[in-house]
């Protein structure tokens, strides 16, 4: 039902609502793919901005050379490769140490890229000429979001999914049970990064001009807010959080120009104090 509605939506909706849908779907994709890894393992990743940026920038570089949607796949690939490297180095860090390491990644990537672009190519950004039309972008983002949601729903039923939960509960114990924790962690981390990269790639044409500022740490924060607000332990939670936050901030922006952040902040505080398990807790009669 919902799926059908989302597919038909851009055909019947006016452009503004299609764009709003596009933005919210992109947020759903980010939040769900974040929770794919960080939900069960409880590793607080702040690398979303880095992977999103890597995907977007890659797309901007190859857009003129490859037919759509290959640039998006290229973005996903680069983000996943980056995640493999980072995962290998960083996934033995725990808790806050992992969070800060991943946060630094977006900044490191941004400044390295600026340094490279100014030093080697003599520019610092890319124009995205002849971008695909709005419907093509919408369906690309919809496809990415759908893939992320499907993966998130399917993964917990697999051996790897069970292992991930084991890692989140007690990593050392999981290891003694013979689970190859490192391989599973890195694998799922890269998978989630691929979705984030694809989201960045699909959204890149909306900017028209892209520079390394697209490696934006705020994207990391926003993703965490959406996922935690919805409840990171479930599949529906992060998606719900993204939709809720997207619709809420749109209303606040349109109705209360000078108080939009205030409204958003108060809403966050209220939700945290009243709903200990996030918005997803509302869906269940008896929260765990």
């Amino acid at each position: 039902m919902l799926g059908g509605a989302l597919v038909v939506a851009p055909l019947v909706l006016p452009p503004y609502y299609r764009s709003l849908g596009l933005a919210i779907l992109a947020d759903v994709a980010l939040a769900v793919s974040w929770a794919l890894f960080s939900g069960p393992t409880r590793y607080l990743s702040l690398a979303t901005g880095a992977f999103f940026g890597a995907g977007a920038y890659t797309t901007a570089v190859v857009l003129a050379k490859l037919p759509w949607p290959l640039p998006v796949l290229a973005g996903a690939g680069v983000a996943a490769a980056m995640a493999l490297l980072v995962g290998t180095l960083a996934l033995r860090l725990r808790g806050p140490y992992f969070a800060v390491f991943t946060f630094g990644l977006a900044e490191l990537a941004k400044h390295t890229l600026i340094w490279f672009e100014t030093g080697v190519t003599g520019t610092v950004g890319r124009l995205l000429l002849n971008p695909p039309g709005p419907s093509a972008l919408y369906y690309t983002v919809l496809a990415v979001a759908a893939a992320a949601v499907t993966t998130a729903a399917w993964l917990p039923r697999t051996r790897w999914g069970v292992a991930l939960i084991g890692i989140g509960a007690d990593e050392e114990r999981a290891e003694t049970l013979g689970i190859d924790t490192t391989r599973i962690k890195i694998g799922v981390f890269a998978l989630s990064a691929a979705f984030m990269g694809a989201t960045g790639g699909a959204m890149a044409p909306r900017w028209t001009y892209l520079d390394p500022q697209v490696f934006n740490p705020l994207v990391s924060f926003q993703t965490v807010i959406m996922a935690l607000l919805g409840g990171a332990g479930t599949v529906a939670g992060p998606a719900l959080g993204a939709v809720f936050l997207g619709v809420l901030s749109e209303i606040l922006l349109l109705k209360f120009r000078y108080f939009y952040m205030l409204g958003l902040g108060v809403m966050l505080i209220v939700v945290v104090l009243l709903l200990p398990t996030g918005l997803a807790g509302l869906l269940r009669r008896h929260p765990r």
């Binding site: 607080l44 100014t118 935690l228 200990p276």
Partner: protein
């Protein structure tokens, strides 16, 4: 490039002045994060508030910026106690310790939005700033601005004094006990909630005081807080969570690395070098430079 004594002085003094500021704001964050596992992303917003308060007191009523520390610090302390009472105590007292980190993180985000919006409404987005002691001091064949040296000296003195207080006083011992053995500390009768409230207040006070000092050096905007939160976070992690001496040293070290990067290579390298150093240290030593 040859390393002349003057250059060395420039790097060391420049690095320590930047690092002193980093150390104090990070110490404040470490009190909250290290003790309560509350990642307060609104930490830098209190720095911003301290800076604006000093600005308003100085330009509006002619109060000496240094004297305003006596106002911004205690005010932030009181606000910290209130926030702890109203918001964080509820989370900290609950049983769901595993969701504590994520819920307190969300709470801090909410706080961050509210404070930024409030500052925007009160002070507007226009750049604000003033000159105080922006005079060159000549020393060892080179020059340094008086206000930077003074701000860093005050920051370091406060940081060091606080460290001594933690080592020597009874409350300080309770704080350290809580950090190392929360369960044991509770058993020997340490009043957790009271210590938490005090640390929350003290953490915000340090942030606000840093803000007062920073206002003498840089222009103010309602959005200046978050970068300081991030720097503080990096310093806390470098120094080891809950390790106060490590935090002070890591702050100074980060200042030195950044300044050396700028002098020896270029300014672009500054941010690359600080994050690269962080990444390298964590890879080699996953619990921070001075972590156990």
């Amino acid at each position: 490039m040859t390393v002349s004594p003057t250059l060395l002085t420039d790097v060391v003094v420049g690095g320590l002045t930047t690092g002193g500021i980093y150390a104090l704001v990070a110490l404040g964050l470490n009190l909250q994060y290290g003790l309560m596992r509350v990642l307060n992303v609104a930490h830098g917003e209190f720095l911003m508030l301290g800076a604006y308060l000093t600005y308003s007191l100085h330009t509006g009523w002619g109060v000496n910026p240094l004297l305003t520390l006596l106002i911004t610090g205690p005010t932030a302390f009181a606000v910290g106690l209130a926030l702890h009472r109203l918001l964080y105590a509820r989370l900290l007292s609950g049983d769901a310790t595993e969701s504590l980190e994520s819920r307190s993180l969300l709470l801090s985000f909410g706080l961050m939005f509210v404070i930024q919006n409030a500052a925007l409404l009160i002070w507007s987005a226009d750049l604000k700033g003033y000159s105080y002691l922006a005079i060159p001091l000549r020393w060892l064949g080179t020059v340094f601005p008086a206000n930077r040296l003074l701000a860093a000296a005050i920051a370091l003195a406060l940081g060091a004094a606080f460290y001594v207080y933690l080592r020597a006083s009874l409350t300080g011992k309770a704080v350290r006990a809580l950090m190392q053995e929360p369960e044991g500390a509770r058993l020997v009768g340490i009043r957790t909630a009271r210590i938490h409230a005090l640390c929350f207040g003290a953490g915000l006070a340090m942030s606000a005081i840093t803000g007062s000092l920073v206002s003498m050096l840089f222009e103010l905007t309602p959005f200046m807080g978050l970068p300081y939160t991030v720097t503080a976070l990096v310093v806390v992690i470098l120094g080891g969570l809950g390790n106060m001496m490590g935090c002070l040293l890591a702050g100074l070290l980060l200042g030195l690395v950044e300044t050396a990067g700028v002098y020896l290579a270029s300014s672009d390298i500054r941010l690359i070098s600080s994050y690269a150093v962080l990444a390298l240290i964590l890879i080699l030593k996953p619990s921070g430079l001075f972590g156990r």
